[in-house]
Symmetry: C2
Subunit: 261 residues, 2 copies
């Protein structure tokens, strides 16, 4: 990863935002194609805009995109793209979705971007460098005990039955007014900026979490799966993000999974 890669990631996010903004609260009308058409149009336009740039400048890099699938490469470098993470928030007109861009080198995410194109908020993480939020350093905050944590998750319906039991066990450790739903990638961004302490989710795919890892970890936090293991392309999609790595054992114990460690 070079400064040119960071600069490229910024241009990809710019291009995605330019493609997405015209559709926000605008192109979406409720008709028979409502579930598929306008959202897909925004998604596809944004991913196509990003792929076009990568293919022109790094034609031998691999690309994995939510909409257009995988394009093999020969460099060991893979761009992982999720043009709109938080699709339902997008179609509902809530400005808490994001464009996710990750660069993976030999399977490891070394660069990540979360871009919110309506409110012009951008988080960038790169291995070995402090995470930046709109050109200022972002830091997670400390969290002395789990019951002080602000916990976020996107939807209870993303959990399988056993996962839901584990999540509710964890949620019961947190003060009730400190549990928020909805938010998708935006919750991880707020964790990187020190406003949220803990995000716990299941059912995530590589394009959902690859970009988040450099951002959360470059801000002082930690990301792993529900067994405390590093996330990678083979992960089952159970994700924990913690602003304060010192609370990892507490979080895993609260999930009822400590015995499996």
């Amino acid at each position: 990863m070079t400064p040119a890669d960071v600069q490229l990631a910024n241009r990809l996010a710019d291009a995605a935002g330019t493609a997405i903004r015209p559709f926000f609260r605008n192109a979406f009308t409720l008709d028979d194609k409502a579930d598929a058409s306008p959202v897909t149009e925004a998604d596809r336009a944004a991913e196509a805009a990003m792929r076009k740039i990568i293919e022109a400048e790094y034609p031998r890099d691999s690309i994995i995109g939510e909409e257009y699938g995988e394009k093999p490469g020969t460099t060991g470098r893979t761009w992982v793209l999720d043009p709109i993470d938080g699709t339902t928030s997008f179609i509902a007109g809530r400005p808490i979705f994001g464009t996710l861009i990750a660069l993976m080198v030999e399977g490891w995410p070394v660069l990540g971007v979360i871009d919110q194109p309506v409110s012009s908020e951008r988080w960038i993480g790169a291995t070995g460098k402090p995470t930046m939020f709109n050109n200022a350093p972002a830091r997670t905050r400390r969290c002395a005990t789990l019951d002080q944590a602000l916990l976020a998750t996107t939807s209870p319906h993303l959990f399988g039955d056993d996962e839901a039991v584990s999540f509710l066990a964890l949620a019961s450790k947190v003060a009730r007014r400190r549990l928020i739903y909805g938010g998708d990638c935006y919750n991880y961004a707020l964790l990187a900026s020190g406003h949220v302490d803990l995000v716990v989710e299941a059912g995530l795919k590589l394009h959902d979490f690859a970009a988040l890892i450099p951002i959360v970890e470059g801000a002082g936090g930690i990301m792993c799966d529900w067994a405390g293991e590093p996330l990678n392309a083979a992960s089952a999609g159970e994700v924990i993000a913690l602003g304060d790595p010192a609370r990892l054992e507490d979080a895993l114990q609260a999930l009822g999974l400590a015995a499996q460690l």
Copy 2:
């Protein structure tokens, strides 16, 4: 209600926003007082600013505020204030909370404001007039069938056990990618603007829903309780907002409560 009341409501929202913005993503640090102090500070500052204006200009009007309680009056007019609806989103740094202001006359809400002070978005509804969003008319959208509806609710934990069963019965009628969590008053605002079709919640208090009624209904929608009855100060807090009133019977049936009508 007069044009002067609408103008006053705007000034109240301005004052609340001025009080709230300095605390957003700023004053909140995680310490022992985290649950109570900074949020309460923003809440109290905003409500105090609004009460000061009302007491100076309409000293005989009644006021009901979430933070400072009830001040009796003699005019039959009551200002209902919720300085920050969506407290947890506020402390998490998500700009989808709102200041709620309602004017009730003889127990009926005739004027309502939802103000989002970070993104400068304001919805105003007044009986007999079209709802306005940032000075342009807001309209709900039609919804031909319930399975096309975009459904929003703030948190599954706001439902009692029986309520959760009813809500899940309704949610099962909606396409999975069309159900969003989180959002508080902001979901009703997006419904008034035609981006969300249905909001179903429980456990709401008068200050949570009074302001929403003129906004939703002035935009072409309907609000009622889970039995289809009008909401008032004695309501149990089970709230439905529908962008398309033609879907009311479907929604009540899906909640499994049609037999009670």
